[in-house]
Amino acid sequence: MSRTADPLAEGCDGRQYSSWNVPLRISVIVCAHNEARYLPACLHSVLAQSRQPDELLVINNASTDDTAAVAAHIPFVRLIDEPRKGLVVARETGRRHATGDILVYLDADCRAPLTWIARIERRFQHDADLIALSGPYRYYDWDWSGRALIRAYDFTVAPATQLLVKHILRIGTIFYGGNFAVRREALDEIGGFDTSIEFHGEDTNVGRRLSAIGRVGLFHDCYLHTSARRYIAMGKREVFRLYIRNFVSELLHHRPKDTAHMDIRI
């Protein structure tokens, strides 16, 4: 392993990123708008990790419920208020406040598997060219047909789509907004998040821009458990349509199709 001795291995495009077995500072960022009900289980799933984060940030995004109070009561959490409502605005606030080498983003309704951060860290440590990664979702509150449908999607549609858009057309990548990790330098290099995007398509946007400057991976072992509340509230067909049209629009026109979104918090 020639990379072992080199703390800063050179990437394929000349950039230098922390590499093999070099300890990485990991910041976990949870953006929350009125998530008092879902947030504690999310934060505790992060705190229970086999590899604990070096920093855990909660971005309280214009919440009108007890989100801030709930987060403030959980030890180790650094609470940051962002009064401007918007998921992408909150993610950008997280980027500006985080101090880690790797910024890990998850949504407030997600629950991290016990070795989730360890797997992410291992991926970055073993691959100096990797600038960002994402993983699929597994749904903890969906019926069996929904779960089966998503697993079938993960092993059929997603790889085929990834092959087409990333390896053949080279116009972007599949990137899951509620489950991704990115090297801070890479995110800084692309200028952070595009805060002009309201909600849908923001993940495809950041994935496309990152894949233009380095390697972005999609790894099955970096999966995350999450809620199917959007599918339950809006219906499978409608949500799939929504995701597909914004994915395609963002890749082809560099703008998502939908500017408005439905608040599905129940």
């Binding site: 504690p40 289980a41 505790h44 799933s45 229970a48 086999s50 959980i74 598997p113 597994r138």
Partner: protein
């Protein structure tokens, strides 16, 4: 058969991680919560209440925090 093998592998590989998490006050939600189909989902032990999903609903119960 494959599922059994995967469970067996998880039981061995994950056991040290479960032990550390348990010492920190967490436990696997599997067996406690219908919503938790996966063994790698952990919850705070003090949040577990019969009849309430601590995975889908992490609302502080007054004991959990």
């Amino acid at each position: 058969m494959l599922t059994l093998l995967l469970h067996a592998r998880d039981a061995i590989v994950m056991r040290p991680h479960y032990a550390v998490a348990y010492a920190r006050g967490y436990t696997t939600a599997f067996g406690h919560d219908r919503a938790a189909m996966a063994r790698d989902l952990v919850v705070r032990r003090s949040q577990i209440e019969p009849g309430r999903s601590v995975v889908a609903d992490g609302r502080p119960s007054g004991r959990g925090l």
